[in-house]
């Protein structure tokens, strides 16, 4: 599996993960804007709330697919415990925060998808779930791709 993830990125796993994670973070910022329009908090003449909500759903599906791919690459290559154990001396905290935030992120995304598609009684929780997902994406990015890009 490790070789598969490495082969998928042609030996540039860290770089490919950085690009994909950055794309996802940029799209989540866009998603927050779309839902601000979708819920009527922000009004713009060129985009109606219904259109914004539709695009939010389509972009959200794309984000989930990319996130699952990045998570697959991350877990198969680094593994959960190895990622923390093999981190450099001053990187243990960063690696641990990344693992916790990433795991929470996948859990909250799964919960959000369940609420959107099947558990509509809890629809009132969607704005909170959405903002939690955004915050977890930001933490996960800062502790991995952000560190890779800005820490050098």
């Amino acid at each position: 599996m490790e070789d598969f993830a490495d082969g998928l990125s042609r030996g540039n796993l860290a770089q490919v993960k950085t690009v994909l994670a950055s794309i996802v973070l940029a799209l989540t910022v866009y998603q927050v804007g779309l839902m601000a329009i979708g819920y009527g908090k922000v009004r713009v003449p060129f985009l109606k709330p219904k259109a914004a909500s539709f695009t939010h759903r389509a972009v959200g599906d794309t984000i989930v697919a990319i996130t699952l791919l990045v998570a697959f690459m991350c877990i198969t290559y680094f593994e959960v415990e190895d990622g923390i154990e093999h981190a450099a001396d001053d990187e243990h905290v960063r690696a641990a925060v990344h693992v916790v935030a990433g795991s929470l992120l996948l859990t909250v995304i799964a919960l959000k998808v369940v609420v959107v598609r099947w558990w509509q009684r809890l629809e009132r929780l969607l704005p909170s779930l959405g903002l939690t997902v955004f915050a977890l994406f930001a933490i996960t990015w800062v502790t991995s791709a952000g560190d890779y890009l800005l820490g050098e």
């Binding site: 540039n12 770089q15 950085t18 690009v19 950055s22 794309i23 940029a26 799209l27 866009y30 779309l34 060129f46 985009l47 109606k48 219904k50 259109a51 914004a52 539709f54 695009t55 389509a58 972009v59 794309t62 791709a145 890009l149």
Partner: protein, 69 residues
């Protein structure tokens, strides 16, 4: 028969908005790829990789030569 349904007449506006917002998402993706790959910079090319590998092999041979002699 020639008069179109009002709902049908409204649909293109909504469709255009969705298309426009999806195109904005594609633009965001393109800009992000451009910015991040520019920040990462080019990796070593095939010649540099071969040189690195040769250096590693030389170092490995030196070490094994020293420990053996």
């Amino acid at each position: 028969m020639s008069r179109s349904n009002p709902a049908k007449r409204k649909a293109p506006t909504y469709g255009r908005q969705v298309l426009g917002s999806l195109l904005a998402a594609v633009l965001i993706v393109a800009l992000t790829i451009f910015a991040v790959t520019a920040a990462i910079g080019p990796g070593p090319d095939a010649r540099e990789l071969r040189e690195l590998q040769e250096q590693q092999e030389e170092r490995h041979e030196d070490r094994s030569g020293n420990s053996g002699g």
